[in-house]
């Protein structure tokens, strides 16, 4: 019973963040599963990705109805991301994860500042 309530609550919170910010929601779901349900990292990631199929399918509907989806752009990014997931991961795997994370953090902070200033 507790498991049912916790699982649904994690899904609700992750879905909300995912819908609000147009991201998957894994950033909430994975730690939720690890910390609250004691799942290991790999299972949490796999289970989260599966649930996000449903959450993101629901979240995209209101955006599509309001005409806020650029389908041609989505198609192009999708092509790149599938190729990237297959081949890019092998190349990028040679760079230590902590350096990738640092580079990502730097770019992210610059993007965030630009977004906040231009808002």
């Amino acid at each position: 019973m507790r498991h049912i309530v916790q699982g649904t609550a994690i899904g609700l919170a992750a879905g909300f963040i995912g819908g609000l910010f147009g991201v998957g929601g894994g950033v909430v779901m994975v730690p939720g599963l690890v910390l609250l349900l004691g799942m290991d990292q790999h299972r949490a990631h796999a289970t989260s990705v599966t649930a996000i199929v449903a959450a993101s399918s629901a979240a995209v509907i209101p955006f599509a109805v309001d005409g806020e989806v650029a389908w041609d752009t989505a198609g192009l990014i999708l092509i790149g991301s599938i190729v990237g997931a297959y081949f890019g991961a092998r190349l990028i795997g040679r760079i230590p994860a902590v350096w990738l994370a640092r580079a990502f953090l730097t770019i992210t902070v610059i993007a965030a500042v630009r977004m906040a200033v231009s808002a």
């Binding site: 963040i17 998957g24 629901a58 994860a97």
Partner: protein
């Protein structure tokens, strides 16, 4: 040029997602806004449209490997559908400048969390006393 740029954004996001375990949305949205002058709402809607097929592929791979806990995934999915609809409606109800600033805060928090997690993973001993 734009076509090539968008494919490159996908390439980078796909590579990072596979190696760092971060979702694509955290890259698509700021990239579309900062590099391709998308409005905040359209960037988020477009990001979600990419996430759906991407997660379908990832879910199939994980399911075949037997890593998905289906009972929990069902609960998460039910909560996720309700939460996703509410979140999307909330985003559409917000003005673009407000949503953009909220997203910027979310972006920094996510990046900091990811950096601390990666650092922990690359050090056998914990850095902080637990």
């Amino acid at each position: 040029m734009t076509v090539l740029g968008l494919i490159v954004v996908g390439l980078i996001a796909g590579s990072l997602a596979a190696s760092l375990g971060i979702g694509g949305g955290i890259i698509y949205v700021p990239a579309l806004v900062a590099l391709f002058s998308f409005a905040q709402h359209e960037a988020q809607g477009t990001s979600l449209a990419v996430i759906v097929p991407t997660t379908v592929v990832a879910a199939v791979v994980h399911a075949r490997a037997g890593r998905v806990e289906w009972g929990t995934a069902l609960l998460l999915g039910i909560g996720g559908i309700v939460g996703g609809l509410i979140g999307a409606e909330a985003a559409l109800a917000l003005d673009a400048p407000v949503l953009k600033r909220l997203f910027a805060v979310f972006l920094v928090l996510t990046a900091v969390r990811m950096l601390s997690r990666t650092r922990r993973a690359s050090h056998p001993e914990p850095l902080d006393p637990v």
